[in-house]
Amino acid sequence: MSADSRDLLQGTLAILILKALLGGTSHGYGIARWIETTTDDVLRIEEGSLYPALRRLEDRGWVTSEWGLSENNRRARFYTITSAGRTHVRGEAAAWMRYSAAVARVIGAEPSLI
């Protein structure tokens, strides 16, 4: 994987995680499930990569974490989005929308090029 596409993927992953957390506090597995359901499992991310991504988000102050009990009474680490995280995800989401709309326009407008 080239550095560029990993950056892209990491950025994407960050957006996905923050988006997932907008729905409420969740542990890592919950985030993975949310991504899976929401995207109809199209992205099929390696779930292990969620955790380093969460650490980085934590370092940037976009999420916080706390240990608690899971729905099946196990010790689990729960992540919560911060207000800085919310601001960030809103900005990023807008940029993504513009980006994907542009890509969609390109793809829709010139079918002959494919």
Binding site: H27, G28, G48, R55, D59, T64, S65, E66, A76, R77
Partner: protein, 875 residues
Amino acid sequence: MNPRWRRYRRFFGSNREADVDDELRFHLDMRARDYEQRGLPRDAAERAARERFGDYAQVDAALRAHDRTRERRDDRRRVLDELRQDLRHALRGLRRAPAFAAVAIATLALGIGANTAVFSVVDAVVLRPLPFSRPDRVTFVSGSTLGEFVRLRELSRSWSDLAAYRAASINLSGEGEAERLDGAITTPNLFSILGVPAARGRAFVGDETETGRLAAVVLSDGLWRRRFGADPSIVGRTIMVEGTSFEVLGVMPPGFGFPSRDTQLWIPINMPPARTGQLWGMGGYQLLGRLRDEASVSQAQEELRALYGRIRFENPMWDPGPDYGKDAVVTALQQQLVGSTRTMLYLLLGVVGVVLLIACANVANLLLVRATTRAREVAVRMALGGSRLRIVRQLLTESLVLAACGGICGVAVAWVGVRQLGRLLPADVPRLTPIGLDMRVLAFTSVLVVATGTLFGMLPALRASRDTQPSLRGGARNLTGAHRRLAGLLVSAEMAAAVLLVVAATLLIRSATALQDVDPGFRVAGVAAARITPPRNRITDATAQRDLYDRLIARVAALPGVEAVGAVDRLPLGRSPVAGLAVRVEGQAEDPTRLLPMADHYQIITPGYLSTMNVALLRGRGFTDDDRPGAPDVAIVSESFAKRFWPAGDAIGKRIGNPWPSEWITIVGVVRDTKADSLREQATTTVYRPFAQVPTINMTLVLRTSRAISPLSGELRRAISGVDADVPVSEIESMPAIVARSSARQRFATQLFALFAGIAIALGVIGIYGVMSYAVAQRQQEIGIRMALGASPADARGMILREGGRLAVVGIAIGLGTAAVASRLLGGLLYGVTATDPLTFAFVPAALAVVALLASYVPARRATRVDPTTALRAD
């Protein structure tokens, strides 16, 4: 910063690694359970979960590494945060208690300042390497004559080179007033041995002596600036040295001075051709060598002693005896220079160290008192979950802030102190490096600040953070007993330290008084001295010398108010030692090739000298104008000299001789012993010869007068330049000043010890006063009860006084014990008293006990004014 995360982490502490594991396992288990619910068998579900997860080991390692880094960063941040908090807290606390802060800071400033000042002297004189190239390889070598020097230089293998030099007064004339300067006469290789090149031109390098280029001079930076206005074209110019033209070869860099910092110019030794007997008669030199890399000091010394055995019989003048050179030593330059000074300075450093300890004890006491009033605050904080470590750290921060403030003020104290010390420092203390507050000294001060802050802060901090339960339950009363015991201990320690210093100071003061009472054997009051150094090129022969001094003496004697005038070649107790001389004694030691007895001192005097100085004539006669060349050679000897060689008989008429084959000299008079080199000297054997028979060029005029010295000195200068304008006169000094200077080292030590002992007493008094006042304040209730039950005010007063007395007695006893051992360190500084002088050891404790009682008396009186009803209602 993430507060929730922090709170969690502190709670769970160290299982950070297990957390990573837990989190990832939870994920795998949940995923596997999901697959299982969708119908996969258990093991297949687990496999699928792992597959979906990716590289477990890699993620696990990445998270662990990440968490470790984060923890370290958080720790750092937390420590800094807390430090900032503590600092703010400490400063706020000190602002709220300005009296406490002021007393503590002033006490510390005094202690730290004194230490800084003394250390700066110790550092410059003893510790700092000399400003020469690889100074540890430069050594002094026993030996004094040029004969020895030439042979050692040829034969020795341990040194790459040897130099011979001696300090000398050198006259500079032409272009302005003639002046006499501290200089050195040296073999040309001195500068290369020291490894210091000239700043302009060059130093002597090769063979100025051998090629006959004798007339060259090297100037110090100071002389070049002062006398020659920093003339850039000085090199190659001709200046008048000793009345002869000398070419300036070079100027040394600023700060360079050898053998002393004041040495202003160097001229090469006018050395006769090697291997002539004359070389062995030229003594008074010091030998300096640069050791080869492979040679050690002890090896060099071994070689030196062997070499002396070899050259023993090369001396054509006398046989130095079988022990010649057996005690020859090689010493590192620095060690040789600072030798006896080092002990004195270290003693002084010890003394200020003790003062600082006393200061620490005092501040610790203040902190204890403060800790009691703050016990409740501390207890509340600990009950709220503040760890003991955290609270100790916070209290220590306060101490360190105090110490730092004390340190900053201390540097100001030291800045003044260093100047005073520099002024007081005896002239004979070697100062090759300048004394001042530099980075090294400030680094020492910083260490001192941290050390003192920890020292006085630790005990109260540990104490304050312990046993906090009682202060939560009720007033601070339960704590005060323990605090008071600790405070009492500190006060006793202070008293002990004060006793130690006061004993030392008293011993020194008694020594100084004893030295003052020493009769030097000559008159001191009303005598003045002026050293005359005529230019050598004009006053060349004996006749000219006799003629010059005859005229000078006649002229000075005619000055109004001058009662008597004489001259001596070396003034007793003057700046340069009065050298001795080996003598032959008729019928006792006649063979000049054998080891001859030594006279301690040998002085050349004019007929007026003994009467001017009131040296008592015991038998025979003094010198007269008839004792001149052609007349029989005569001598006068001191009482001890006469007793030593003719213990039963009369020395008059006996004959002695120079240590080389020459005519006998008849003893015509016996005079009282005089102290020539130091007031401590005992039974000095001295030989006096008449100037007319053995004239010499440099003499010191002594005159007795009823007038003050300062108006006289102008007239004296005019009188002398009226005789010969080219004759420079050194500073005209009064004999009392000269005698005082001879014991300058003693006085220096005495003054400083007395000063520091005074500070110690003052701090000790403050300590006792503080603790007793506090005790009275804390025990108001108890005193109130006692008085309500019928105790009289006198009883209450007695109770407090007894407590203060007990603290003082314990301290004084410990102090006396320590002093009895430690006072031996004073050794060489004592005179006329023993290190365990009974009078001192009786007087000091008595005096300090009185002082201690007085310090407790004021608080004790306050105790009697306690009103029982108020006291009982308090709290």
